[in-house]
């Protein structure tokens, strides 16, 4: 059989002095007592990446210890995936026991009913609706013309049956940055806005007052600094292109190849310039070339976000060399092509950037701005995650393997390959640090708050210090080395004693 235990945030709700998770664990132990002692039991926590903690006999003391060692996480439950996993070939359980504070119908929108509530599944529900409030969302945006100002939007969710009146405070680092009195009706949400000038990197919102779940009363975000992009311009450039670059607030044009640069813009290039930097290429114009109306293809690409290209006439410069994703066509031929398959990002615009209606259109500077954003990888690395979401950062070549440090200062298992850092275990909310060659980077991992919780969800209140997902995998320890060393020691002692005895005699 498989025992699937919900470890999501809402299982930490405290009711009658104990958490729902405590109640669920007691139910699990009760179930195990009723099972025949020889029954094979797979223990599966239903977190975002369901896995088998271990395979035990029902009467095995290790199983009881494994159940006790499980902790509530800050992530959302993925019960339907855990059920699928329990039925999969690797586990192959014929009977599934699910312990959760939600009912199977809640998942009917993400999984077929028969898959989560078949005859092989038995649900054990814990908990009753609780008085809880949470910060369910926090977002930010830089002012359009005042880059030193940002607006922060905080959503407060009242999951209880009583009206919520509490203080909402905002801190930047450790400094208070704003406070508002919030009032939210039962089972309702309200948004509050803060305007911050010269914000610090990390901003945390905190909701005052006591409720059933404490940790969902805080939520953080990380504001990445507005990075300057150094562009190496190769070729003649052109009036309209230089105008578009000069209008970009975060672009610095360098003309010497020896100068440090982040990307290359090459006008009139027939081949991709050598080097490692990403490239924006304009194919050299052909004399007497015709103009055609541009038509975007069905490809959704960040380069064409909010750019109205359709119908804009452009002089087609000539055939290019890049074999990538066609973003727009003109006259039946690819006009804008993007390639992201290799180590470099390359965007090829096979249009005349100096003649015809295209460079005069409003689409042109927007296209250039979007191209610089895409080529400079801006926005590729997320700085705000929800607990349980895998982290994937493109950090490029590093002299030393990057290290990810969790909020409790433990090192998080990570994988670094081809310049990409992957972390799957983000089940604990808080601020994570990524140690790179260039210094520490911070990302905020926030608890998963279930908006439509029927039982007032939120992360756990009582939890042990240190990592909350306790691995129950170290139950057996290999004593081979210890025994070998002990034998060696005995041998040495015996040998030494033998020699000493010889000398005495």
């Amino acid at each position: 059989v498989a025992v699937i235990l919900d470890t999501s945030v809402s299982m930490g709700t405290v009711q009658n002095g104990e958490t729902r998770f405590d109640v669920a664990r007691a139910q699990v132990r009760s179930l195990l007592d009723r099972l025949p002692g020889g029954t094979r039991v797979f223990l599966i926590p239903a977190d975002p990446d369901p896995r088998v903690i271990g395979e035990f006999r029902a009467s095995d003391a290790d199983l009881a210890r494994a159940v006790s060692s499980l902790r509530v996480t800050d992530a959302a439950a993925q019960l339907h995936r855990a059920i699928d996993y329990a039925r999969s070939a690797r586990v192959g359980a014929s009977r599934l026991y699910v312990f959760s504070d939600v009912f199977s119908h809640v998942f009917s929108d993400v999984a077929p009913a028969e898959s989560i509530s078949g005859p092989d599944v038995e649900w054990f529900s814990v908990g009753v609706p609780a008085e809880n409030a949470a910060i369910s969302d926090i977002s930010w945006r830089r002012s359009m013309n005042r880059p030193h100002e940002i607006e922060v939007l905080v959503t407060v969710l009242n999951q209880g049956v009583s009206a919520l009146n509490a203080d909402l405070t905002l801190t930047t680092g450790v400094n208070p940055a704003g406070r508002q009195r919030v009032s939210v009706d039962p089972h309702a949400a309200a948004k509050y806005s803060f305007l911050l000038t010269d914000p610090a990197l990390t901003i945390t919102a905190h909701l005052g007052g006591d409720d059933a779940v404490a940790s969902d009363n805080s939520r953080s975000l990380v504001v990445p600094p507005a990075a300057n992009v150094r562009v190496l311009l190769i070729g003649e450039g052109g009036y309209f292109l230089e105008k578009a670059l000069s209008a970009h607030p975060n672009v610095t044009v360098v003309s010497s190849e020896s100068a440090d640069h982040d990307l290359v813009i090459c006008t009139g290039c027939r081949e991709v310039p050598a080097g490692t930097a990403d490239v924006l290429m304009f194919t050299p114009p052909a004399p007497g070339a015709d103009s055609f109306a541009l038509v975007r293809t069905s490809v959704e690409h960040p380069v064409t976000d909010d750019v109205d290209l359709d119908g804009t006439r452009a002089v087609v410069a000539g055939s290019g060399t890049l074999d990538g994703v066609v973003i727009a066509v003109a006259g039946g031929s690819p006009a804008i092509v993007a390639d992201d398959s290799g180590a470099r990002r390359i965007l090829e615009i096979r249009l005349d950037s100096d003649n015809g209606p295209f460079p005069l259109s409003t689409a042109f500077p927007l296209l250039i701005a979007n191209a610089i954003g895409w080529l400079s990888h801006r926005g590729d690395n997320r700085t705000i995650l929800t607990a349980g979401e895998p982290l994937q950062w493109n950090v490029g070549v590093q002299r030393q393997t990057p290290v990810v440090v969790a909020p409790d200062n433990r090192e998080v298992p990570s994988r670094f390959a081809n310049g990409i850092l992957s972390v799957a275990d983000t089940r604990v909310a808080g601020l994570y640090r990524i140690r790179l060659d260039s210094g520490d980077q911070t990302i905020a991992v926030n608890p998963a708050v279930r908006i439509d919780s029927e039982s007032g969800g939120g992360p756990a209140t009582p939890r042990a210090a240190g990592g909350r997902i306790a691995a129950a995998t170290a139950i057996r320890t290999d004593l081979t080395v210890a025994l070998a060393l002990a034998s060696l020691l005995l041998l040495a002692v015996e040998w030494r004693c033998g020699q000493a005895g010889t000398r005495v005699m």
Binding site: S139, G324, P390, T502
Partner: protein, 876 residues
């Protein structure tokens, strides 16, 4: 040899804990010292013993260091994950062949499985059972979508938990669901590399398809705009692309796919009337599609054409026309001239009905008006008064269905209570036909309209009679309308007429103690009046004695008119003698409303204004005094913008389909609103009311984006302010009209300051039209937008998404498998744990050393020699 817990090609042995090898140096030093001492003491037999012990020590150290010996290449478990969705249909055979080629390169001990996926994954062969990919055709997979994430997740869960594992993804990477990168991160963290094997591009030659139709979302009236079509197909092939508006012939263009496999066409269009226009585009081929996908595909575009807002003012009054002329183009017509098709109304952004009785509009006009509001997002303003807002407006039919109010006096603390008994004739004469229907049918409809007009909290009884009364529904509070309707259907006209017994029964009901406490008690008699003189005399006596009001609707023409008139008037009630029986239902409803009382409130009051874009100019100190209004109640979902002192609606609004409707109940052109009309806030109020209701195609306050995804569309509204900040904390709602005609109301969530978004599930192909409304908390900020998009239902993407596949590969440190090359050729050697052998050898040496020593001891005693352990010098 490797000293670390890793491996290098050519390694023969390795150690899991190489740090313990340092003990060898210690052991060597020890051994050297022991050896030297033994030689110095001439202990030759002892040196053998030292050698044995040294060997045991070395073995123990090697065991502690975790010696492992190379044992050939590591066995690998491979899960092939093969895309079988429509976008790779042409490459299926090639991918199966490549799987077979890779299977052939697997080595002894390797195990392989196969997962097929489209919209969902299915394990075709579990790990260890796959030997031939071509034979794997059992699975039935939905091929219209591609979910790579789900397939990779299933593959990872189906692989063994330990050992060397690989996933080989055979796909074009055109995912339409899920996020493959998310699962790639988890696979990377679990040490499972994902190799990619994209199909050969030549095998992905698409069936010709119309991939995109583009058009500007909003244009001005008379402004030329271009609709562009992009199609993909086989290079050199001929096709016909067509564009068609809602009327007229389609414009067609013959095209040929370029060497790049694309073809484009464009059409310049100009629309001279504002409104929402849908254009359908199509692609057809001369030849049948080799893949059987059909030789025709279609898509479309929706364009909103905006201009100076146009208002159609309908009715005998022109009170508001002058006020609106500065902001709107106003056309005025009489009610009989209201167009009978929605197309004829298309150019109007709002329709105003002032002084128009609903029954003046016929069914066609009402249907056209309803369709115009519901589907084209136009607005309707009903300026009502005592004559136009009456009981003839049924709340669920005709024009009444559009209104946000119910004009029946409703239950509640302010509603007068009523006990009404309807007594209707079912004698044989009621079987006479009028207009193709028996009179009894109109009587039934009359009772039904009375049921509709009365709130359920009032008491109602129904008696049918011929020569004797038949109880249809006993007088009771809280009548069950459905049951009474069913019983009415069972009433058949038969027998002679005797009114008095039935009326007497009604009066008895109304005279009970319980009913007697209800302030208003009334009898409504419906008959064709063909009663006997004796019955008439008895009726007169009963009515006179009861002192209860008796209203009469007689279908008997002039017969007994004088008697019935005097009888009704003697009780303070009314008698009606319609020439046409078809008027009976409406008369019955109106009489029911009248006897219910409280239909009008005529007393001076100051209304209460709610925060709303219409009432922005009516601040608390500037609210006008009104003299009366028609009593009504807001329907569920309606918003009361202006309320009376008794909290009845004066101005109520709601959204109906894509449009908006407002009803004013205080006779804007009559004496009730006289003081209001003379105030300075009146003109802005009327203008704001019509402006809010009118269809708004484009507002500079909102920037709307609609991003079509594979199975949904994202509706994103940006709300910047002129000072470069963001309009936050707005209430933004949208009404979405689907191709089927169903309307869905959505709320947009603010996902970041000034950005509001929602997801729209789409499935049925056709035009989707969205009316968006934004409002600030104080109602001072308002914005409206009308947008549309066309959903073709075609989610297929062509070509290979190399960016996604490369990223999946790189994240997991996988490889690209080109051609038939195998990812399994280079693999680490398998190392076998040597510790059991080492410890066994050490133990055997130990035994031998002990046994040898014992044998020497025994042998020495026999020969008289001293054992090794006894030093010679001691013996000497």
């Amino acid at each position: 040899m490797a000293l670390r817990a890793g491996w290098n090609e050519g390694d023969v042995v390795r150690f899991t804990s190489p740090q313990y090898l340092i003990l060898l140096l210690v052991g060597c030093a020890w051994l050297w010292q022991a050896w030297r001492r033994a030689h110095s003491a001439h202990e030759r037999r002892g040196s053998r013993r030292h050698a044995a012990r040294a060997a045991i020590a070395v073995l123990l150290i090697l065991g502690a260091a975790g010696l492992e010996i190379a044992a050939g290449p590591t066995a690998v478990s491979v899960m092939f994950v093969m895309d079988v969705s429509d976008s790779v249909a042409g490459a299926r055979a090639e991918m199966s062949r490549r799987v077979d080629a890779m299977l052939a390169q697997l080595q002894r001990g390797d195990r392989a499985g196969l997962i097929l996926f489209g919209a969902e994954p299915i394990i075709e062969r579990s790990v260890g059972t796959l030997v031939d990919a071509n034979a794997a055709t059992d699975a039935v997979v939905q091929t219209t979508a591609t979910d790579i994430e789900a397939a990779l997740r299933l593959a990872r869960s189906a692989l063994p938990a330990t050992g060397l594992r690989r996933i080989v993804l055979l796909s074009d990477g055109q995912q339409t669901r899920g996020d493959a990168l998310r699962e790639a991160s988890r696979a990377a963290a679990n040490g499972v590399p994902i190799d990619i094997a994209p199909p050969v591009e030549a095998n992905l030659a698409p069936s010709p398809v119309l991939t995109r139709v583009s058009a500007p979302p909003v244009v001005g009236v008379g402004e030329p705009f271009q609709i562009s079509l992009l199609a993909e197909g086989l290079p050199g092939e001929a096709a016909v692309l067509s564009i068609q508006g809602e009327s007229g012939e389609p414009a067609t263009q013959h095209v040929r796919f370029s060497p790049n496999g694309v073809a484009t066409a464009a059409q310049v269009i100009r629309e001279n009337q504002p409104g929402v226009y849908v254009y359908r585009a199509g692609l057809s081929l001369a030849r049948p599609d080799p893949l059987g996908a059909g030789s025709e595909t279609s898509d479309g575009a929706v364009v909103v054409v905006s201009g100076r807002p146009r208002v159609l003012s309908v009715g005998p009054l022109r009170g508001v026309d002058r006020l609106l002329s500065a902001s709107f183009t106003v056309n005025h017509i009489s009610a009989t001239d209201v167009p009978r098709s929605a197309a004829a109304l298309a150019s109007y952004d709002a329709v105003i009905l002032e002084g128009v009785r609903p029954d003046v509009l016929d069914e066609e006009q009402t249907a056209a008006l309803t369709r115009h509001i519901e589907t084209r997002g136009s607005g309707l303003v009903v300026l009502g008064d005592a004559t136009t807002l009456d009981a003839t407006i049924a709340p669920a039919t005709g024009l009444g269905r559009l209104l946000p109010i119910d004009v029946r006096p409703r239950a509640g603390t302010r509603a007068p209570e009523l006990a009404l008994v309807v007594v209707f004739d079912k004698s044989g004469s009621m079987d006479d036909r009028v207009g193709g229907q028996a009179k009894i049918e109109y009587a039934r409809q009359g009772v039904q309209r009375v049921l509709d007009a009365l709130p359920a909290t009032d008491a109602l009884g129904v008696i049918a009679f011929d020569n004797a009364p038949t109880v249809i529904a006993p007088l009771a509070i809280g009548h069950a309308a459905r049951e009474i309707s069913e019983r009415l259907r069972g009433v058949a006209p038969i027998g002679s007429t005797a009114i008095a017994p039935a009326v007497q029964r009604a009066i008895e009901w109304l005279s009970t103690d319980e009913i007697g406490r209800i302030p208003r008690r009334h009898v409504l008699l419906v008959t064709d009046g063909r009663s006997s003189p004796a019955d008439a005399a008895r009726l007169q006596a009963i009515v006179k004695e009861s002192h209860l009001p008796l209203s009469i609707i007689s279908l008997g023409g002039n017969r007994d008119q004088e008697f019935l008139q005097s009888l009704a008037e003697s009780t303070g009630a009314r008698a009606y003698f319609p020439q046409d029986a078809r008027a009976l239902p409406e008369l019955a409803a109106r009489e029911a409303t009248l006897v219910a009382g409280g239909r009008l409130v005529e007393e001076p009051f100051t209304p209460q204004g709610m925060p709303h874009p219409i009432t922005v100019g009516l601040t608390n100190g500037r609210l006008p005094r009104l003299g009366g209004y028609v009593v009504s109640a807001a329907k569920p979902g309606a918003e009361i913008v202006l309320a009376s002192h008794r909290l009845d609606p004066i101005l109520a609004t709601w959204r109906y389909g894509l449009g908006k409707i407002a009803v004013y109940t205080a006779d804007l052109d009559g004496p009730w609103s006289m003081q209001f009309r003379s105030s300075e806030v009146f003109e802005p109020f009327v203008r704001d009311m019509v402006r809010w209701v009118a269809r708004s195609t484009s507002d500079q306050s909102f920037f709307v984006r609609i991003q079509k995804r594979t199975d949904h569309a994202e509706l994103i509204v940006e709300a910047p302010r002129v000072d470069s900040s963001y309009a936050s904390l707005l209430e933004v709602r949208a009404s979405l009209r689907r191709p089927s005609g169903d309307t869905e109301h959505l709320r947009l969530a603010e996902t970041m300051p000034g950005r509001y978004a929602t997801s729209v599930a789409v499935s049925e192909p056709g035009p989707y039209i969205v009316a968006i409304d934004g409002r600030g908390r104080d109602s001072r900020f308002t914005a409206q937008e009308l947008r549309g998009f066309y959903w073709s239902g075609n989610t297929e993407r062509h070509g290979t998404n190399t960016a996604l596949l490369s990223r999946v590969r790189d994240v997991t440190n996988g490889t690209t498998i080109d051609g038939d090359s195998s990812a399994f050729a280079a693999r680490p050697p398998a190392f076998q744990d040597a510790r059991p052998w080492i410890f066994t050898a050490a133990f055997l040496l130990f035994l031998i050393e002990i046994l040898t020593a014992d044998l020497r001891t025994v042998s020495g005693r026999h020969k008289g020699d001293a054992p090794d352990s006894i030093p010679r010098r001691t013996a000497a």
